[in-house]
């Protein structure tokens, strides 16, 4: 009886344990599959579709697909990366992303992934949605212009037992993060800087006040190494 369980990611063997998803196992092995809405601490959400990989010609989300023995998974093929670039472009034009002036620049997963995949421009016409910011809370600013609807704040806040953020609404205009107060303002919730949800946003929506730019541009997480390398390093430290 063999203990070895492996699948193949672009031909390279990846070990996994029963119940692990393709993305989980790849991440643990220090292999990069592009992703935005997945986070090792939370349940897969499956919404960004950046992690789309191909198995026998069929596209599936790596974050929500179980690994199985001997599986041949195509990941960084030109076709898949093309599709990923298009998805990134969609996310950029759907919101309002002004990277050069964004506090999160350099540590934003969306921006870093766009660099990783060589996205050179937005391609589609911008939507310029009207998404008001919420500066009501003493310690935290919410700038939904950059929200990619990944649900990580919802999951983290559920873990906090507070349900401050809940994904609601429908469609491009309607779908958004709903704040758990009658006024819809963060100040009217029990949200605190110490909450798990305060640190989970992969882009620049949930921002701490008064610490902006404390790490200068050029020295930030993804300034030092591209996301594929940075994540592999982080995974090996875990």
């Amino acid at each position: 009886m063999s203990e070895e369980t492996t699948f193949f990611l672009d031909g390279e063997p990846i070990p996994f344990t029963a119940g692990q998803t393709i993305l989980q196992a790849a991440h643990a092995a220090g292999r990069y599959i592009p992703h935005l809405c997945w986070h090792p601490d939370y349940k897969p959400h499956g919404s960004c579709r950046l992690c789309t990989v191909s198995i026998g010609g069929r596209s599936v989300p790596a974050c929500a697909t179980q690994a199985s023995e001997g599986l041949e998974v195509a990941n960084r093929t030109p076709e898949l990366d093309d599709a990923r670039r298009m998805l990134l472009q969609m996310l950029f034009v759907e919101g309002n992303h002004f990277c050069p002036s964004c506090e999160k620049s350099g540590q934003c997963l969306l921006q870093a992934t766009a660099y990783e995949l060589g996205m050179m421009g937005p391609h589609f016409d911008h939507f310029y949605p009207n998404r008001p910011v919420d500066a009501s809370h003493p310690d935290v600013l919410l700038d939904f212009n950059r929200c990619i609807l990944c649900s990580l704040c919802e999951q983290a806040s559920a873990r906090d037992g507070k349900f401050v953020f809940v994904m609601g609404g429908r469609g491009m205009r309607g779908r958004k993060v709903i704040i758990n107060s009658a006024s819809g303002r963060l100040a009217d919730t029990d949200f605190a800087l110490t909450d798990r949800a305060a640190n989970v946003c992969p882009v620049g929506v949930i921002l701490k006040k008064r610490v902006g730019f404390s790490v200068p541009y050029g020295q930030r997480r993804y300034d030092r190494a591209p996301v594929s390398v940075a994540q592999a390093q982080e995974a090996s430290r875990e």
Binding site: P44, G46, S47, C48, R49, L50, T52, S59, P61, A64, A83, M86, L87, M90, L91, V93, E94, F124, D125, F127, I148, L149, F163, V164, F165, V166, M167, G168, G169, R170, G171, M172, G174, R175, I178, I179, N180, S181, A182, S183
Partner: protein, 597 residues
């Protein structure tokens, strides 16, 4: 009545059960008109959910209103077939008579007029919902009279009953609907057979789901029957009556005139898989059917055909509840439907697990189409051999077809599978030459006039049962543009490709319609289609690009004749952008315009 009493009554009616949130919201809104922030807070306390979760559900469905919608909320069906019958001009006329703009509540809070995706009345449009009651066959005269009644604040009950009449328009019956049915006979036959033999009978009949995908019914049931139960669980039977595909309305006829066939089919399913609980997920647009369906359920309980000890047999317990939807096409997807049944936004689940093992509240659940249950009932009554002899080898039995558009006799037709499109159209009476036929609604297939010899069956053109007919005077580009907007409106917004891609599709189609399109835009459309088909989370996204791709392939001139000749044209018009500046400065002279060389 005091708003608090209204809310508390709805809460009590549903035992403060959060999984019944949709019904609580609806019953509250039916009396209060909309869901105010205080209402949401109260309901959240009442069901013990975080407030934001209640708001998230309310915000998901088109028919729940978090802002006032006035005393009269008038929603015109925006199906392309309603548009062809003149709905847009009628809506405009109504707005002018009431002095208001579509999509904006009148200043005095009297009325709100807007469009809604489709209300299942393609055979008797233009149709609309007035405070969620269906009105059919609108005319300019009716619109004028209606505006008068609204201005006088006449209660709906005093409006002419004729306006609310919905016809079955059942034009041709066959093995499924042709014969009378005596409630209980099919169930008794199934009982005599026993569950295993009944399942084998369904398998031998070759029954495939009537919702369009055509999955073998027996295989789905077997998987559910084999799924292990945890303590306190039961198996669940769900009838998908969310008939939201524009152009389809055959389930409406089944529920209106053949509800016994459907309910009995569900009960046979329950007996076969060992389920104690059943739901009919009725689309919100069919709200008008609710009371009659409840009455039929009650009669069946009294006849011993539902409830505890069905047919006098100890331990044969099963009952059916009706769950009303609230205007969300995506709930037709079975896992989204189950989320909705649990009181949540109708977002398709990640799979596995599949509903047959973990569905409603984690219990093994089968979800089948209304027509599938009616077929089950007839198979139990008449046997597999009888059923299997009808139709084709891969598609046994008959199919109900909703025919609408440019035909003399729109309505529902029953034909054995394998019938040609031409034969159906002949019966329906085509007036003009046929340019195109949309099969199975926007997410289906577009056939050209040359393809009418094709057969409706899983071997050739599979169908959920809709044929929308477009004669030679119609603009197939506008048909596709209507569908593009439909998907942009109905995307649940969960996944990136569908949420954003359907919007880009709709914008590109508008750009082309405005005469600003180029070859470049025509190349974008198939690219978007491929992305959606390859990366979206559920069937809605996978098929959202279909109608554009198909019309672009088969009716390309309809697109090309609108293009500017250039390779690329921007979506914005520089001169038009200056219009505000001109308005503010009061200038209209030549120098205030940017003129293209």
């Amino acid at each position: 009545m005091d708003p608090l009493d209204v809310i508390d009554r709805a809460l009590a009616h549903h035992h403060h059960d959060g999984t019944r949130l949709m019904q609580i919201l609806r019953e509250t809104q039916e009396v209060l008109g909309w869901l105010a922030p205080e209402t949401i807070t109260r309901i959240a306390e009442g069901v013990g959910w975080p407030r934001a979760k209640v708001e998230a559900t309310a915000a998901f469905y088109s028919f729940f209103h978090l802002r006032p919608r006035g005393d009269y909320c008038l929603l015109w069906s925006d199906n392309i077939v309603d548009q062809m019958a003149g709905s847009q001009a009628l809506m405009q006329r109504l707005c002018e008579a009431l002095w208001l703009e579509p999509g904006r509540l009148s200043e005095d809070g009297l009325a709100f007029v807007h469009t809604t995706s489709d209300i299942g009345m393609g055979d008797q449009g233009p149709a609309l919902l007035v405070n969620y009651r269906t009105m059919t066959r609108m005319t300019p005269e009716r619109v004028d009279a209606m505006a008068e009644l609204i201005r006088n604040r006449a209660p709906l009950a005093s409006w002419p009953a004729e306006w609310f009449r919905v016809e079955d328009n059942l034009r041709r019956t066959g093995p499924l609907l042709g014969e009378a049915f005596a409630p209980g006979t099919a169930l008794s036959a199934a009982w005599a057979r026993g569950p295993e033999a009944q399942l084998a009978e369904i398998a031998a009949a070759g029954l495939r789901g009537r919702g369009g995908a055509g999955f073998p019914t027996a295989r789905k049931w077997q998987a559910c029957r084999d799924a292990p139960l945890e303590a306190g669980q039961t198996r669940v039977v769900v009838c998908n009556a969310d008939e939201g595909e524009p152009g389809t309305f055959k389930d409406r006829v089944l529920l209106n005139s053949y509800a016994d066939l459907v309910f009995e089919g569900m009960t046979i399913a329950a007996f076969t898989i060992g389920a104690r609980r059943g739901f009919v997920y009725l689309r919100g647009e069919y709200r008008y059917l609710l009371e009659a369906l409840e009455a039929t359920l009650q009669r069946r309980r009294e006849q011993g055909l539902l409830g505890n000890g069905i047919l006098g047999r100890d331990g044969f317990d099963f009952d059916i509840e009706i769950h009303l939807g609230a205007g969300a096409y995506v709930c037709g997807e079975e896992s989204a439907l189950i989320e909705s049944l649990e009181g949540k936004p109708g977002r398709p689940r990640l799979r596995p697990p599949f509903p047959v093992t973990k569905g409603y509240l984690g219990q093994p659940t089968i979800v089948n189409n209304v027509e599938t249950f009616a077929c089950v009932c007839r198979i139990a009554e008449k046997g597999a051999a009888w059923f299997a002899a009808i139709g084709t080898a891969q598609s046994t039995g008959s199919k109900l077809l909703s025919v609408s558009g440019d035909v003399a006799h729109p309505g529902v037709y029953e034909y054995p599978f394998g019938v040609s499109v031409a034969e159906v159209l002949e019966a329906a009476g085509v007036r003009n030459c046929v340019q195109g036929v949309q099969v199975s609604g926007p997410s289906g297939t577009t056939l050209t006039g040359e393809e009418l010899g094709r057969r409706l069956c899983f071997e050739d053109v599979p169908t959920a049962g809709a044929l929308m007919v477009f004669d030679c005077t119609r603009d197939m580009f506008e048909v596709a543009r209507n569908f593009a907007h439909f998907f942009a409106h109905e995307s649940c917004g969960f996944c990136t490709p569908c949420r954003v891609g359907t919007q880009i599709n709709a914008r590109l189609m508008d750009k082309i319609a405005a005469g600003r399109g180029s070859q470049y835009d025509l190349q974008e459309l198939p690219r978007l289609h491929r992305l959606l088909a390859g990366t979206a989370h559920c069937g809605l996204g996978h098929s959202a690009g279909n109608p554009i791709f198909e019309t672009l392939t088969k009716f390309r001139p309809a697109y090309e004749r609108r293009l500017k000749s250039s390779d690329f044209a921007p979506a914005f018009d520089l001169d038009a952008e200056l219009s505000q500046a001109r308005q503010m400065t009061g200038r209209e002279d030549r120098a205030a315009h940017l003129v293209e060389e």
